[in-house]
Amino acid sequence: MADILKEIAPTKIERNPDNPRIFFRDEEMDTLTASIRRYGIQVPITVYAEGKHYVLIDGERRWRCAKKLNLESMPALIREKPSRLRNILLMFNIHALREQWDYLTIARKLPDVIELFKKENSGRTPTEVEQSELTGLTRGQIRRCGLLLELPKKYRETLEEELSLPKHFQKLSEDFFIEMERALKTVQNRVPSAIKNLDSARDALIKKFRKETIKNITDFRMLSKIATSVKRLGVKESKAREALKGIFDPNNKTSIEQVFAEQFELKFDERRVILSADSIYDFLETSLEDQAAVSVSDKLRKSLSRLNRLIERFLKS
C-alpha cells in the first residue's frame, strides 16, 4: 500500500506504546508550540491506521503541540501497519538521522530490538555491527547505551528523574554516568582492592559531583589513569589503592583532580617525555646511520641545538 497524505484530527491519533522517547521537556515543547502556532506544521507526522484511530510512528512532539494548541487537524502520512520490530526500528532510524534521543531512551528499547530480532532469526543474537545497521546508531553509541543498561535500577531511576527535569535543572547527565561507569570498570579491573562496594563508590562520586568536589565529568578519565598507572607506570598498587580509597570516601573533600595532580600527573608527564625522547633518539640514530644528517633542515638543526642546551642545563642541575 502506498503512503497517503491526509489531514487528521489530533484527537484521532494515539501515541505509539513502543516509542522509546519518554522525556518531553516543557521548555523544548514550548519553542515548538510557538513555531507551530506561527508557521503551522511544516513536516507531516507519520502514522498507521488501527481500527478507527491512528497510531504514531513519528512526530509525537508535533502531535502533543497540536493537541495543546487545540488544532482541528494536522498533516499526516499514513503508512501500512508495520511489524513490531519494524515499528521500533523505523522510530530508531528516523531519529538516528535527525535529532538524537537521550541515550537512556535508546538503551531502554534496545533489549526489545534484540529480543524481536532473535525471534525472527531463530534465536540468534544480533552482533554489535548488526545492531548498528538495524538501528542506524554507531557502534560507539550502542556501547554507551550498554553502559547505561548495566546501571543498577536505583541509578537508572536517578538518571530518569534528572532527565525529566528542565535542562537547566539537570545536574547528573547521561554522560556523567557513562564516564563514571567507564572509570569504575577500569578501577575494578586494574585495582580491584580499591572498591569494596561498587554502589558505595558510585554514591560517593555522585555526592562529590553534586557538591562540586568533582567539577567536571572528564575528571573520571583521571580516575582511569590512576588505576592504569600500576601497570603502565609501575606505580605501587598500594599507593594507587590508597589514592582511590580517598576519592571513594564520601566524607572527605578529596577530588580526583587534586589526587591526580599531586601524586600521578608527573609520572604520566615523565612517561610522555620518555616516549618523545625515544622517538627523537630513534630518528637521530637512523639519520646518522643513513648518513642523512647533512640533509636535515636548518629549522630542525636550530630546534635540536636549543633542546641540547636545555638538556645539558637540566642534567647539570
Binding site: 516543557d26 494548541l69 535543572f169
Partner: protein
C-alpha cells in the same frame, strides 16, 4: 490514565494542583486535557466551571509563563465566558526564576500561579482574575503618571477595589470623575460662568450646563468624553449578569470603563490646570 503522558514530577504537580482547585472551586464540570472550546487555541491541563459565570483553567508546565498561555490569552480575553487562568509548576521552578522576572510577567498578564513542592504541598502564589477584566499593573502605572498625587491615591484605591469587585472598582473610578466635574462646576459658579448650585446637579446635567458656555468653548471635547463616560458606564455595577455571555460582556465593559476613567481624569486635569481651578477631592 489521567495525565498519563506526564513525567512523574509533572504528574505530581498536576494531581496536587487539581486537588487544590477541587477544594477551592468544587471541581464542578471538571475536564482534564480537553479544550474549553473550539474558539480557544489551547487545551488546558484541566478546567472547571465553579459557577455559571466563571471557568477556572490550569496549565501545568515546568517552564514559567509558557508560550501557550501567551497564545491563548487573546482568545480567552475575547471569549464569551469569563475565564481565570492559573499556571501550576514545581516550587523549585518558581524559586529559580531570576529576580522573579517570569513570575512577575505571568502575574502582570493576569495569570495566577500555583506551586507544588516535592512533598506535594500546594500553594496559590498569585490569584488570577478573569482575563477579560484584567488591567495589567504596568499599564495602570503608565496611565497614572500624568495625574496629581491626590488623584493617584484615589485611583489606586479604585484599582484595589476593582480586583475584589470589578463593578465597585469602576464605580469608584466614576466617582473620581464626578468629583472632578463638581470641582470644575464650583469654579465656574464662583466666576459667574454658570448659575449658583449648578454643581449640586447630576454629572451629566452639570456638563450640559458647562458645555455651551464661552468659557468652556475650548474644553468641549474633554467635557464630551466625561459626558459619554457618565452615560455609558454609570449603571454597569448595579446590573447583575443573567448568564455567562453577559458576565463576560460586563467584565469587558468594566475594564474598558476603568481605563476610560483614567484617560478622562488626565484630560479633566489638563482643563483644570488651564482654568486655574483647584482640585478639591477627598
Amino acid at each position: 490514565m489521567v495525565f498519563g503522558t506526564f513525567s512523574d514530577r509533572k504528574r505530581l504537580v498536576a494531581n496536587r494542583s487539581l486537588a487544590l482547585c477541587r477544594n477551592e472551586w468544587g471541581g464542578i464540570r471538571l475536564r482534564t486535557e480537553e479544550p474549553i472550546d473550539a474558539a480557544i487555541n489551547w487545551s488546558p491541563t484541566f478546567h472547571m466551571r465553579p459557577n455559571s459565570t466563571l471557568i477556572v483553567a490550569v496549565e501545568v508546565n515546568e517552564y514559567l509563563f509558557p508560550e501557550i498561555l501567551k497564545i491563548a490569552a487573546h482568545d480567552i480575553e475575547h471569549y464569551n465566558f469569563p475565564i481565570a487562568v492559573y499556571q501550576a509548576c514545581p516550587l523549585d521552578v518558581y524559586q529559580n526564576d531570576a529576580r522573579l522576572a517570569r513570575a512577575n510577567l505571568l502575574a502582570d498578564h493576569g495569570f495566577g500561579l500555583i506551586t507544588v513542592d516535592d512533598a506535594g504541598t500546594t500553594r496559590i502564589h498569585t490569584r488570577a482574575e478573569p482575563l477579560a477584566q484584567h488591567i495589567p499593573k504596568s499599564r495602570f502605572d503608565i496611565a497614572l503618571r500624568p495625574l496629581t498625587q491626590r488623584l493617584k491615591i484615589r485611583f489606586r484605591a479604585a484599582y484595589a477595589t476593582y480586583h475584589i469587585d470589578i463593578g465597585q472598582g469602576l464605580q469608584a473610578a466614576g466617582q473620581i470623575i464626578e468629583a472632578m466635574i463638581t470641582c470644575i462646576a464650583k469654579h465656574a459658579e464662583a466666576n459667574g460662568v454658570v448659575p449658583a448650585r449648578t454643581s449640586n446637579r447630576g454629572t451629566a446635567d452639570i456638563i450640559d450646563a458647562l458645555s455651551p458656555t464661552n468659557a468652556f468653548r475650548n474644553y468641549r471635547a474633554a467635557l464630551g468624553g466625561a459626558r459619554h463616560f457618565a452615560n455609558r458606564y454609570r449603571n454597569i455595577a448595579s446590573h447583575n449578569p443573567r448568564g455567562p455571555q453577559e458576565a463576560a460582556e460586563k467584565l469587558r465593559r468594566c475594564k474598558e470603563g476603568f481605563l476610560e476613567a483614567l484617560h478622562i481624569a488626565e484630560e479633566l486635569r489638563a482643563v483644570m490646570l488651564q482654568l486655574g481651578c483647584p482640585l478639591r477631592i477627598i
